[in-house]
């Protein structure tokens, strides 16, 4: 019975990690240098979920965990800015290939999923409380 709390909690953790990756992508959408200060555009990160069989309920439900955090393989956006300090020999600057629309939709989905799981926890809590009303 109480494993339903664990399952919902695993989803909360997973969705929050996804939201962290999305905020990182949006924050770095104009970043043209890496952590060492060299001219290299930021690579967007995407979180992949995986079912977690360590958290299972008797009914066959299972939790979720972070499978991997992958780097985007999309080519960077090239912009012609000859005066830019990070411009290449042809005057092009490599910008991260972050699509703001996609990121925002993903963020909205992650946040709604988080809310949905909080809702499920509320329902589970209600269930236990109602059971309690019978025995006590």
């Amino acid at each position: 019975m109480l494993t339903s709390f664990d399952i919902s909690t695993s989803a909360l953790v997973a969705q929050r990690t996804r939201l962290n990756a999305i905020s990182s992508n949006i924050a770095n959408m104009s970043t043209t240098r890496n952590e060492r200060g060299e001219a290299e555009p930021y690579t967007p990160r995407y979180v992949t979920f995986q079912t977690d069989t360590n958290i299972t309920s008797s009914g066959g439900g299972s939790g979720v965990k972070i499978g991997s955090v992958d780097l985007s393989t999309a080519e960077p956006n090239m912009k012609y800015e000859p005066g830019h300090p990070d411009a290449n020999a042809n005057g092009y600057v490599a910008y991260p290939n972050v699509d703001m629309t996609t990121e925002f939709v993903d963020a909205l989905e992650a946040s709604r999923s988080y809310e949905a799981n909080v809702g499920v926890i509320e329902v589970s809590k209600n269930l236990v409380e109602n059971t309690l009303r019978i025995i006590a």
Binding site: S8, R16, V128, L132, I135
Partner: protein
């Protein structure tokens, strides 16, 4: 007399459950308060250890009480007077040892620690607390009904 009144029911057992859940709630609240504290390791009390100690205490309380464990004259006089009495003469002091289980605080290594997990543990702990308190108050309600000779 009162110790038999309260002791023959599940009151001492539920009392330990309430004590444990309260102690654990305090520890979990400390974890949430220290979410952003650098170098803080998450603490917890082991419900498994508590359950084990509680089970041992229940077993011990069913055994005829020894004079070393008994509650004052209750344990000393009655257990020696007659063997037939020892059937109801339970060893309630056995429950004193249950609290040993929540003197040992566990420290997590910081891998699987998050606010969500802490709140989750807190909710489950709260449910257990509510259950124990609910059953306790029901027991007392029945006692009061018996004393007042009125349907509760």
């Amino acid at each position: 007399m009162l110790s038999t009144l309260f002791g023959t029911s599940s009151v001492p057992l539920l009392e330990q459950v309430v004590n444990f859940t309260e102690a654990r709630h305090g520890v979990l609240a400390g974890n949430i308060a220290n979410l952003d504290t650098p170098g803080y390791t998450t603490r917890d009390l082991s419900p498994e250890l508590f359950q084990q100690k509680l089970r041992e205490a229940v077993e011990a309380s069913r055994a005829p009480s020894m004079s070393t464990y008994g509650y004052g004259n209750y344990g000393n006089n009655m257990s020696q007077s007659a063997d037939s009495v020892s059937r109801v003469d339970r060893n309630f002091a056995a429950f004193d040892h249950v609290k040993d289980s929540y003197n040992s605080i566990l420290r997590h290594d910081g891998v699987d620690v998050s606010m969500e997990n802490q709140v989750n543990q807190m909710v489950k702990n709260q449910q257990e607390h509510n259950m124990a308190v609910g059953i306790l108050s029901n027991q007392f309600r029945l006692l009061r009904a018996a004393i007042s000779e009125r349907a509760a």
